[in-house]
C-alpha cells in the first residue's frame, strides 16, 4: 500500500472521527456543565451572555465533564511543575502502576507457559486441570482482589507484590490457553519427522513445539498486558494505596475532583497504549528475525 492510499484509506477517516469526537466532547462539556455554572458562577455575577457561559463552562473548577484542554493543562502542569518523585506528579503514579503491571505480566507469562507445558505433556493434567482453567475464566477474578490483598498483607507482603499477584491472575489465563494451542499446533508430519530422528521430548519442545507456538503467544500477550493493567488498577482501590493511577481515581472520586479522575483515566489509557505497543514491537522484532533466519 502506498503512502497516498494509506492516508486516504486509514488516517483520514480516523482523523475525521477523532475530530468529531473532540467536537462532541466540547459540546457535551458545555451542555453538562451549563446548569451548575449558571447557578454557581454566572448568576451571582449578574448579567451574562452566551460568550460568558461558554468561557465559564469550559473553565469550571469542578466540572461535571472537564473540557479536553483542561485535562491537557492538568497533566502538563503535574508532569512539568513538580519533581518526578513528588506525589503530585502523575508520572510517579503512572510508574507505580506500570511497574506492578509489568511484574505481574512477567509472573503471569511464566506461570501460564509453565502450566501449558505441563498440560501439553501430561494427559492427567490435560484432563484434570485444563477444564478448571477454562471454567475459572468465568469467575470474576477481580472480585478476589480484596481477599488476595488481605491474605498477602497478613503474611507481611505489601507494596508491589500483591498488586502484581492480581495482575498475574488476570494475565495467565490467555497465555495458558494460547500456549497450549500453540504447542499443539505442529502438524503430524513434523512431529513424526523429529520422532524418526529419535528426538527427545526436550529436543522436540525446543526445536518444533516452541517455535510453532510463538505466533500464538503474542496475541495472548497483548490481551494479557491490557487485562493486567486493569487488574493492577483495581488492586490499588481497596488497599488505600497512596500512589498509583487506581489510587488517584479513588481519591479523585472521594473529593469530587473530576479533573483528577479524568487525567488519571487519560494517563491509564496512554499507559495501556504504551504497554500494548511495547508487546507489538517485541512481536515485530522477534517474528521478523525468525523470518530472516529461515
Amino acid at each position: 500500500m502506498t503512502t497516498d492510499t494509506r492516508v486516504h484509506q486509514q488516517i483520514f477517516p480516523v482523523g475525521v472521527m477523532l475530530l468529531l469526537a473532540l467536537i462532541l466532547w466540547y459540546a457535551l462539556a458545555v451542555a453538562l456543565n451549563a446548569p451548575g455554572t449558571i447557578e454557581r458562577v454566572l448568576t451571582p455575577r449578574g448579567a451574562w451572555d452566551a460568550g460568558d457561559l461558554l468561557a465559564a463552562t469550559l473553565n469550571a473548577k469542578r466540572p461535571l465533564l472537564p473540557a479536553p484542554h483542561q485535562l491537557v493543562m492538568d497533566i502538563w502542569n503535574s508532569v512539568t511543575g513538580w519533581p518526578v518523585d513528588s506525589p503530585r506528579n502523575l508520572l510517579l503514579h503512572t510508574w507505580v502502576t506500570a511497574s506492578a503491571a509489568l511484574t505481574g505480566f512477567a509472573m503471569g507469562v511464566l506461570l501460564g507457559v509453565l502450566l501449558a507445558i505441563g498440560i501439553v505433556h501430561s494427559r492427567t493434567l490435560d484432563k484434570a486441570l485444563l477444564p478448571w482453567i477454562v471454567a475459572s475464566q468465568t469467575i470474576p477474578v477481580l472480585a478476589i482482589a480484596p481477599i488476595v490483598l488481605i491474605i498477602l498483607g497478613s503474611l507481611g507482603i505489601t507494596g508491589l507484590l500483591p498488586k502484581a499477584t492480581i495482575a498475574m491472575y488476570l494475565c495467565f489465563f490467555p497465555v495458558t490457553l494460547a500456549t497450549v494451542q500453540g504447542l499443539r499446533s505442529p502438524q503430524k508430519m513434523e512431529m513424526e519427522l523429529v520422532h524418526t530422528w529419535a528426538a527427545s521430548r526436550i529436543h522436540t519442545f525446543w526445536m518444533v513445539r516452541l517455535p510453532s507456538a510463538l505466533p500464538y503467544l503474542f496475541p495472548a500477550f497483548r490481551v494479557a498486558i491490557a487485562s493486567g493493567l486493569v487488574g493492577t488498577m483495581v488492586a490499588e482501590l481497596p488497599t488505600g494505596a497512596q500512589a498509583g493511577l487506581g489510587a488517584r481515581l479513588l481519591t479523585g472520586s472521594y473529593y469530587g475532583n473530576t479533573i483528577q479522575i479524568w487525567s488519571a483515566l487519560v494517563m491509564a489509557s496512554l499507559l495501556g497504549l504504551a504497554l500494548t505497543s511495547l508487546v507489538i514491537l517485541a512481536e515485530r522484532l522477534i517474528m521478523h528475525n525468525r523470518k530472516e533466519a529461515r
Binding site: Q9, Q10, P13, V14, V16, M17, L18, L64, R123, T124, D126, K127, A128, L129, L130, P131, W132, A135, Q137, T138, I139, P140, V141, L142, A143, I144, P146, I147, I150, I151, S154, L155, R222, V223, A226, L229, V230, M233, V234, L237, P238, L245, G246, L249, L250, G252, S253, G256, T258, I261, W262, A264, L265, A268, S269, G272, L273, L275, T276
Partner: protein, 357 residues
Amino acid sequence: MKTVIPGTLPLLGALLLLMLSLIQLAGQSPVPLAQLGLNLLLILCALSACSAVLSPVRALLFALTLAAGALWQALLPLHGLTLGALALLAVVSVQRLARAPVSASAVAALFGLWMLGFWQMLVSGFDVPQVILPAPLAIVAALVESADLLAGDILQTVIKSALVGYLLGSGLGIAVALMIDRLPFLQRGLLPLANLTSTVPLVGVAPIAVMWFGFDWPSKAAVVVLVTFFPALVSTLAGLKASGKLEQELMYCYAATPRQRLRALRLPVAMPFIFSALKVNATLSLITAIVAEFFGSPTAGLGFRISTESARMHMPVVWSAIVVASVAGSLMYALLVRLDRRVNFWHPTVRGTAAEK
C-alpha cells in the same frame, strides 16, 4: 510391549510413607488404633492399584478404600505421613481416571473434589485463621446463613447492573455495526479506535459514572454498557466481512438485494463471531459490575458485599459472595454456549465437538 504401572512413583511413595507412618505409630505408647486402622486401609488401597490395567473388582476396591480413607482421615487428627500418602493416592486416582474411558469433565470433577477435600483437611488441621483462608464448609455455612442478603446482592448486581448493561451494550454494539455496515468511511474511522479501547482500562470510568448517574445500579449498568459495546461492535464488523467470495458471488447471481444478502448469507456467517463476543461480554459484564461497585454503591450488591465484609474481616461471607458471583458467571456462560450450539450448529467447531460425543 512394556507394561508400566501408571503412577509408579506416587504409588511407591505412598507405600513408603504408609510404612514409615506405621512404624512411627506403633512406637507411640498408647497405640492409636484408629490411625493404625486408617494406615492399613490405605495400604490395602495402594496395593489394589498396583496393576497396569485395573480389573473392575480392583478398581472398585481402590475407589471404595480411598473414599473411606479420605472420610476417615477427615474425622481423625492430622498425621503428616498419612496425609502425604493420601495425597499421593489421590494423584494416582486422578491419573487412573484420566486413562479410563470416561469424559474429561469426570476427571476434572474428581480433581476439584480432591482439591476441596484437602483444602478442608489442611485448613481445619492446621487451624489456619479464617482471615487468611476459611474452610470450604465454613464458606458453605456462611452461604446458607446469609442467603437472604446474597439474594438481594444478586438482584442488585447480576440482574440489574450486569444484565441490563450487558443487553444494552451488546445490543447497541451489534446494532451500530449493522448500521455502519454499508458506510465504509465510518467503518474505517471507527474500527481502529474501537480496537484501541481494548487496551484502555474502561472500568476506570466507574467513579465518573457514579457522578453522572448516581450511586444506584444505573451508574454500574452505564459502565457495563461502555465496556461491552466495543467487543460486540468489533466482532460483529469482523463477522460481517467473513463470508466467502464464492457465496457472495452466488448471491450476486441471484440478484439478491443487500438486505437479502445480509439476512441469507452475511448475518448467519457473522453469528459465530457475534457469539464469541457475547460470551466474552458475559463474564466481562459481571466483573465490571462488581468492580464498579468498589467506587461507591447502595448497601447491596456483590461488589459492595465483598469490599465491606473484607474490610470487616468476615472472610467466609466474602468467599460466599465470590462463589455466588462465579456461579452466576458460569451459568451465564453455559447458557450462551448452549445457545451458540443451537444457532451455529453448522459451524465446524460445533460439529467437531458433536462428533466426538
